[in-house]
Amino acid sequence: MTDVAPLPTAIQTGAPAFGGIDRIPPEHPENARPDFIRIHGSAEFGELRHRFRAFVVPVSALFFVWYLTYVLLTVYARGLMGIKVIGSINVGLVLGLLQFASTIAITIAYQRYARRRIDPQVRLIRARSGIADK
């Protein structure tokens, strides 16, 4: 093992081996394996994880509870769901359409949040790690 030890050093310093033909291409950041442990421990990544979870966890809980409430109401509170609001449109239909509305609203809100708070942080981390943004 000891006799091959100098070889990597020679390549790292850019010294040409075998008459100027490098057997291993010089290292580009692109080809290097990213240092995941370092990135994982960095403050920027902690911030990204925090921002991501700060939106995703409470909003997921919220829409899940709201959907379950709606399902339980349709199953156990039929009287309430049958009350007419405008013409033949009843509470059940209004609540159902509100599920549509909340789904669209959460989708738009998340897209805006991700653009403003998540994407820039991802770009920052990628830049600091020397990885081109795709």
């Binding site: 997921s60 033949s88 897209q111």
Partner: protein
Amino acid sequence: MITATGITGSPALNTMVFAAFVVITLFVVYRVSNRNSSTTDYYAAGSAFTGSQNGIAITGDYLSAASFLGIAGAIAVHGYDGFLYSIGFLVAWLVALLLVAELVRNTGRFTMGDVLAYRMRQRPVRAAAATSTLVISLFYMLAQMAGAGGLVALLLGVHDKGGQALVISGVGLIMILYVLVGGMKGTTWVQIIKAAMLVLCVVLMTVFLLGKFGFSISSLLDEAAHNSAKGERLLEPGGQYGKTPIGKLDFISLSLALILGAAALPHVLMRFYTVPNAREARRSVVWAVFAMSVFYAATLVIGYGASALVGSERILASTGRENSAAPLLAFEIGGTVLLGVVAAVAFATILAVVAGLTITASASFAHDVYANIFRPGRTDSAQEVRVARRTAVIIGGLSIIGGILANGQNVAFLVALAFAFAASANLSTLLYSLFWKRFNTSGTLWAMYGGLSCCLVLVLFSPLVSGAPSSMVHGVDFHLFPLTNPGIISIPFSFLCGYLGTVLSKTDRADPAKQAEMEVRSLTGIGA
């Protein structure tokens, strides 16, 4: 023509519109497909689709014939309860948007197995992921193909079993052709064309219906209730489900499976790999949510519209019963031409969904089983694609045989069951491996096999199989579990298994370095 037994419109016209769809899509598939010789091309279309294209394709993959004909029919006949399906199918996409799409895109390459096996022992986890993918895909596919038989009877006027078998085989062969020639790229374009046709078709019908009632939802509802055997109760919950406490519980179980299953369906997960990065994966879901909101809102109007203009008695008296509500309505408002279009769209729907399932199942076998379990490190991209193509032919063949055998059986529940499987085996493992540091190989296997077998056992001993008039088996009653949908038990059971499998395994520690790597990769896409 409307006959006593059903509607066939003009079978020749229906066939012509459908044939036009097949010719156009085959041409597009042929034009867009390069040779598809690498895995990236064949499985992920070179990850070159944009978020908006993929969003429409997801819509095409997700909206099955069951959601088009089934939901419209359920609303027309049972009223409000049919609408609950629409809501479940739509809200489910928030799980995909917030918890799954971007993280899965960043972590994996082609299959669900890539994500699940990322920081676990490869072979057992990939075997589990492939098992789950194949089981779910086959169940889902069987439901689609069996539905094709009914649709043939309804729309093409083919009533003998032999003729129907011939049409099912034809549909299966075209689907195999799409997958073989087009790979993921061609299949995606089929989904896009189909989704555009389907959404356009329901929007036009909706606008027409609303116009007919002076753009007053209330008068549409009045007329729907007036023409229904149910009367005013058509507009209230409880028409289809929940006449008994068990029925109510069954409905809650179904609702859980719907919203937790969609984001974990393997053919939906695979679609996220056809875009270049997590941002585009997010945009895909955003587009899909918009397109599907329009679609599901339109099915509400179409369903009630069918009740108002056709009436529940005529719908139930026709060959396809509930499933014929949308075609009957199309005939009522647009004559044979619109009926032909709706018939073609329904066929296109089956074709596109089955193609998506076939490419997913074949990718999972070739990538997870062949390339990573049988020959790890000893195969190349071209060989893997060859295996995937052969698998696609076998799976396509199985779906044809299954569709012919299941023709006429009541197998629509298989779709709901596929959702329950996905929620009980895939969602738990995906969320744990993305969000829980300690989750390990034993936890993955416990959650996956625990959830799958819990579902299978509960279904085997449910009224779906025995003990009810609508059961598959007659004459014997071995049902022990009262619900037809196992989700309410099997989903928590799978999460519990994953937890216990992880904390009880003493020797099997999660690798912290791999976990850090997966977390960084899932959130930033570094290394993807």
